[in-house]
């Protein structure tokens, strides 16, 4: 089975190179007129945005501007007050997606072994057991993961647990992957390791990935695009492109393009923060 996102055109019913090209360049997710109010604040007011296909995009902005709320609304965890979010023109319940929570401790099922945790979304979808095993084993092999999957989550380190969550999100061959501050509960050493893991997953699968981050260096380092949000009600202040080649390494961090992109994002961010 092809890995999701690697050959997006293969799934379309319409043949022909023109449509393929159009489809490749068309936005993956279209957000139109999105509004969300919490009791004390309007977080989104008629928000429009397009998420490009096959890119890793980071959402970055001031505290409480609604970074997580945005991906939670896109992934259906939080209901929007109004507006429309479509994936290639289809609603959420027609697509397969993966979601990685910040709090892996509470998102894993401690009564299941790591292997069964990864297989759970397939079980929820009604995939027969034999196929579940095959698909989990395939993703383990693809990502070259060397963890004893017979362990229970509480027997693993935080990084290993989060890696299991990422595999659990990927096992369904998602069209899009959401990560909500996935590394912020990990120590620095583990965070660095997990960034590399995520980058590898992205390079290997090419899945459209939306990452919420509170670490600007991480956001720029990992992303093709950085969505900079204003204070609420959130606007897309800028959609910064960063097209450095992958795999990016420690050396990337000292390259001029990286430094200038990061500096630019920081400048925009601070301007937005001061507006309050």
């Amino acid at each position: 089975m092809p890995v999701a996102g690697a050959q997006p055109a293969a799934k379309t019913a319409v043949p022909g190179k023109v449509q393929d090209a159009a489809r490749r360049t068309a936005p993956h997710v279209t957000i139109r007129g999105l509004s969300k109010r919490f009791s004390d604040a309007t977080i989104y007011d008629n928000f429009d945005f397009d998420i490009p296909r096959g890119k890793l995009i980071s959402v970055f902005g001031p505290n409480g501007c609604g970074k997580s709320t945005l991906i939670n609304m896109i992934a259906g965890l939080v209901a929007a007050d109004s507006g429309e979010i479509l994936f290639d023109g289809r609603p959420l319940n027609h697509i397969k997606f993966g979601y990685v929570f910040q709090n892996y401790r509470e998102a894993m099922f401690p009564w299941l072994r790591a292997f069964e945790n990864i297989a759970y979304p397939l079980k929820a979808m009604g995939v027969p057991k034999a196929e579940r095993i095959v698909r989990v084993e395939r993703i383990v092999a693809n990502l070259n993961v060397k963890i004893d999957l017979r362990l229970y989550p509480y027997q693993m380190s935080g990084g290993q647990q989060q890696l299991i969550s990422i595999m659990r999100a990927l096992v369904v061959d998602p069209e899009i992957l959401f990560l909500d501050e996935p590394f912020s509960a990990l120590d620095y050493e583990m965070t660095l390791f997990m960034r590399e893991q995520l980058q590898r997953v992205f390079v290997e699968t090419g899945t459209t990935t939306v990452l919420v981050s509170h670490d600007l260096e991480e956001a720029v380092y990992l992303s093709d695009r950085i969505l900079l949000l204003s204070r609420h009600p959130a606007r897309a202040v800028e959609f910064v492109h960063y097209d450095a080649a992958r795999p990016r390494t420690d050396r990337t961090l000292s390259e001029a393009e990286f430094i200038s992109t990061k500096a630019h994002c920081l400048e925009v961010f601070q301007r937005e923060v001061r507006k309050a």
């Binding site: 709090n103 998102a107 099922f109 929820a124």
Partner: protein
């Protein structure tokens, strides 16, 4: 030093036995009221192996297990049902809290009228008390299931029934075991009290009461210790099951 630490749990027991022996030896208390540890344990041994104490012990075990089992069969499904809808739980919360706070012993006369003098009354009062404790804990376990875990299951496409079955039920298991342990302790208390006062001919409560009436102190202490051992054993039994089946509890 390490080898010494293994012995720590026995220190308290040794001190108690020493103080007890000393009290008897020094005749601080009337020997009729306080027999020596040796006399007590001899009475316990004889009673358990060839006397009536063993029969009474088993009778109390039987009643406690019956009442806890009945309580669990009723309270666990009901607790899951109530816990799965917070509105439903809030609407009956007062009733549960009220009857949970009502001393079950105050219900004896009512149950006597309903079930007559016999095992059914003892078992049903104990089951009533235990059921409310279990119900309350199960419902809270389900209500307090981690929201993230439920969201995670939903995001992975699990249906409502599947979320209830795969997540909420398992999430509530540690709390269910807390309920079962509290429930069985309460059931034992109620059964022993019922055996003392509701025209009983057997059971540990009746044994203690009868020994006291006959002023047979070694027998009375023996029956008290047997009841203590039973309570401790039941708690340990549930803890062992819990560790085995709810291995993730507290982790």
């Amino acid at each position: 030093m390490r080898r010494f630490e293994v012995l720590l749990p026995f220190v308290g027991v040794a001190v108690l036995l020493a103080v007890w022996s000393l009290t008897v030896w020094a005749r601080v208390v009337d020997p009729v009221l306080l027999p020596s540890p040796l006399a007590t344990f001899r009475a316990m041994w004889i009673g358990m192996t060839s006397g009536k104490l063993g029969v009474d012990f088993l009778k109390t075990v039987e009643r406690t297990i019956y009442s806890t089992a009945i309580a669990a069969v009723i309270a666990i499904p009901l607790g899951i049902l109530l816990g799965s809808s917070e509105k439903l739980y809030r609407s009956v919360e007062f009733l549960i809290d009220f009857f949970r706070s009502t001393p079950a012993s105050a219900m004896f006369p009512l149950f006597l009228v309903l079930f007559g003098v016999g095992d059914r009354t003892k078992i049903s009062v104990a089951a009533f008390g235990a059921a409310l404790v279990i119900l309350f804990n199960v419902a809270y376990g389900v209500i307090n299931a981690r929201k993230t875990r439920i969201l995670a299951a939903r995001v992975m496409g699990a249906s409502r029934i599947r979320v209830l079955w795969d997540v909420m039920l398992l999430e509530s298991l540690p709390q269910t075991f807390v309920g079962l342990r509290n429930g069985v302790s309460l059931a034992l208390v109620i059964v022993v009290v019922a055996e003392m006062f509701i025209g009983s001919t057997d059971g540990l409560g009746q044994r203690v009461f009868e020994a006291q009436q006959l002023f047979d102190m070694p027998d009375m202490y023996a029956a008290i210790f047997a009841a203590g051992a039973l309570g401790y054993g039941l708690n340990l039994f549930f803890l062992t099951i819990e560790r085995r089946f709810v291995h993730w509890s507290g982790k």
